[in-house]
């Protein structure tokens, strides 16, 4: 054995350091213990965040990745540790979040013997990862990690899993880290076809009512500026998906609002009136399209997209512009005519006014006794800074916060979009906050969802991350209750909750706390929350049976979006 040899476990850590990973979100256990032992000597090089549950670890890594644009790293032991990561992997895959997940595995001679804490995590995680691998030899550790980082962050990002047997962790080997730059079977960036750009530009220049829909691809492709310049020149109105929110400022003159089941009235309705639909970095999720058979049938669709698998998957397009949307947008901007579309944009503004009259007014400035989720967000807007990050869980509060929060910059919107994972927000907010202790991170969460990952209050306590938790307590699994009210005859089957005293719990975790149940106290409480320097827990007791509108009921067409 040469002197230069080190244990596989140390190679794991040195590889992560070589990739400039700042944090490992993790939880120890038998099969990963050698790596934790190696970590003990590297605390100055990489920070480990001990969460209270592996699901918390992976959601925290997701939150970190979403706001930083870096690969999030999480680590767990074999068996139950590894299976607890699965929800986060599925979430990261569908929301294109770059993650490297490292799991310990039983020693290779025990594989397949139902050894203690042996689970076939490579098998289980296959449909939930972009790529995964089991490493059984020490010399394969560094190359696997290098490949994993490359795959996670390149092209359409996603989660990868590297499962490392315990004997590979304890064996001795050379450390020689070679970053992975190319895999011959993997082409993350399809070559842009200039002819497609030409055809798209021609369609756009001839269009009378062109309409841009943008998604997270703009953020992932760092195409925010390119999109803005395209909109400035072409004068085309633009609406965003849930995950595209914030890619351009909502105060941009061409920005007309949000798409989807609980998006804005005009942007949904007018989808069926445009003549050219320009989809940028979005995938026509069914929550955006409603009944796809009655979606934008009158329009010629131009799809700017990196992933060939998304082309013609849900909506057929006239022109597919395959490639990095930043480059495609820049080229398109060069080819489209300088125009304005005042009448067409006016159509959006008129519907916006109607939505304001029927929905928004009552949400933001209610006259009834009970508090609304909307007015809480209104006060958040009043005191938040421009670059504040909003992390939301899943449910009514998610939709309301998304609708009313004033997004000014990219990467300020963190939520579980494609998977709709309750319990996501609290750990994701922690991860987001760790990226920058000085940014405001507001975690808006429901009384149902917070109880799914409540334990992460402990991680926030330990890290002193100054997360502002805003619990919107309606004493219900509100979103499900809304569906029960609208579609199941108000048969509230198992959606009402007997809740604990949340304030006592948060206090036990050393949060500064405040509970508000009358309107008169709300503004002051929100103001205080932002002034406080450490973690803060604000519970607002809101109306129990409020509904989120507008709404496109499942199976309805976008033009059937209802205001009440």
């Amino acid at each position: 054995m040469k002197d230069s040899q080190i244990r596989g476990a140390e190679i794991v850590i040195k590889s992560l350091v070589a990739e400039n990973a700042r944090y490992i979100f993790g939880y120890p256990g038998g099969a990963i213990m050698p790596v934790y032992d190696a970590l003990y000597d590297y605390m100055d090089h990489i920070q480990h965040i001990l969460t209270r549950h592996e699901q918390g670890a992976i959601h925290a890594a997701q939150g970190y990745a979403r706001v930083s644009g870096q690969v999030g790293v999480c680590m767990a032991t074999s068996g139950p540790g590894a299976t607890n990561l699965i929800t986060g992997m599925a979430d990261a895959l569908i929301d294109s979040t770059p993650l490297v997940c490292i799991t310990g595995q039983v020693a290779s001679h025990l594989l397949g013997t139902d050894a203690f804490q042996e689970t076939d995590v490579v098998g289980i995680s296959m449909p939930a990862t972009k790529w995964n691998i089991q490493v059984r030899k020490v010399e394969e550790i560094a190359p696997a990690i290098a490949k994993g980082f490359h795959i996670a962050r390149s092209g359409r990002p996603g989660p990868v899993l590297i499962d490392i047997t315990k004997d590979a962790q304890t064996a001795m080997g050379e450390f020689n880290y070679v970053p992975c730059l190319n895999i011959r079977s993997y082409r993350p960036y399809p070559k842009l076809d200039d002819k497609a750009i030409d055809r798209a530009a021609r369609l756009i220049n001839q269009a009378k009512k062109p309409y841009v829909l943008f998604g997270q691809g703009v953020v992932l492709g760092k195409a925010e500026k390119a999109l803005e310049e395209f909109l400035d020149k072409s004068g085309i109105p633009a609406a965003c998906t849930l995950l595209g929110t914030g890619a351009i400022s909502e105060s941009h003159p061409n920005f007309v609002g949000k798409l989807g089941m609980h998006g804005n009235y005009g942007p949904n309705l007018l989808t069926n009136q445009c003549d050219v639909l320009i989809a940028v970095g979005m995938r026509f999720d069914d929550r955006v399209t409603g009944d796809v058979k009655r979606y934008a049938k009158q329009a010629k669709v131009i799809h700017l997209e990196l992933d060939p698998g998304e082309i013609n998957k849900n909506v057929k397009c006239e022109v597919a512009v395959l490639g990095d949307c930043r480059i495609s947008l820049e080229k398109l901007t060069g080819k489209v005519d300088q125009r304005t579309h005042p009448d067409w944009i006016k159509a959006f503004r008129e519907l916006e006014a109607e939505e304001k009259r029927v929905v928004v007014g009552n949400d933001l400035s209610p006259t009834k006794v009970g508090l609304t989720m909307g007015e809480v967000v209104r006060h958040i807007n009043e005191f938040k800074s421009d670059d504040a990050i909003l992390v939301t869980d899943v449910g009514q509060h998610q939709m309301v916060a998304w609708r009313y929060f004033e997004y000014k910059t990219s990467r300020t919107q963190v939520t579980s979009g494609g998977l709709g994972t309750m319990g996501f927000a609290l750990p994701a907010a922690l991860g987001a906050q760790l990226h920058d202790y000085n940014r405001q991170v507001i975690c808006v969460v429901g009384d149902g969802g917070i109880q799914m990952t409540f334990q992460e209050l402990g991680t926030i306590m330990q890290t002193k991350a100054p997360v502002k938790v805003v619990l919107l307590n309606n004493n219900f699994l509100g979103m499900v209750r809304q569906w029960q009210q609208l579609f199941f005859d108000k048969r509230y089957s198992f959606t009402e909750l007997d809740n604990p005293d949340f304030i006592k719990i948060a206090e036990a975790y050393n949060f500064r706390v405040q509970r508000v149940d009358v309107r008169g106290d709300l503004r002051q409480a929100v103001a205080e929350m932002f002034v406080h320097e450490g973690p803060y827990f604000l519970e607002v007791v809101v109306e129990k049976e409020d509904n989120v509108f507008p709404m496109i009921a499942a199976g309805s067409s976008v033009e059937e979006v209802r205001l009440s």
Partner: protein, 166 residues
């Protein structure tokens, strides 16, 4: 409209890739009618041949999803008339039933006996599924003890090769 398609998949590294590919079909509830795998002309590159009944729209999506797998180099899909393909079938027949009738049937179908054991013979036939199926029907009168048919092996008529994707 459903048609019979053959997907030719060229892949690196074999471990795990079969599962990843079949998951794409099972997730969408599509039955795999034939599946074969072997090393290709290029050392270290495997060639998987999958036969499915589906629509053109679906086969395009399936191929794209297969190509998204990191270790997949390329997936091509073809209709039957765009390929030259064969399957091999083996028929096990008890020795007591061997007579000149059997020999005639074997000759007529361009089949052959590849093994004669104490209690049985093994007949082999190469051909399209319809042909090997027809022989099976005929041989039933001689009491077929076992029958097995391979998945399809196929080469494409278009003169495209995998080299240019490497």
């Amino acid at each position: 409209m459903n048609k019979r398609y053959t997907i030719s998949v060229f892949t690196e590294n074999f471990i795990g890739i079969l599962s990843r590919i079949t998951l794409i079909f099972t997730r969408r509830g599509i039955n795999i009618d034939g599946f074969t795998a072997s090393e290709s002309r290029e050392e270290g590159i495997y060639r998987i041949t999958i036969v499915v009944h589906t629509t053109e729209e679906q086969i395009i999506q399936l191929s794209k999803q297969i190509e998204k797998i990191i270790d997949v180099i390329k997936a091509f899909y073809y209709l039957d008339d765009e390929m030259v393909f064969q399957e091999i079938a083996l028929y096990k027949i008890p020795i007591d039933n061997i007579d000149s009738g059997l020999e005639r049937v074997i000759r007529q179908h361009n089949a052959r006996i590849i093994s004669a054991e104490k209690d049985f013979v093994v007949v082999e036939m190469t051909g399209h599924k319809e042909e090997t199926q027809e022989l099976l029907e005929v041989l039933k009168e001689f009491n077929v003890l076992e029958f097995v048919r391979s998945g399809r092996v196929a080469v494409a008529k278009p003169m495209e090769t995998i080299d240019k994707y490497l």
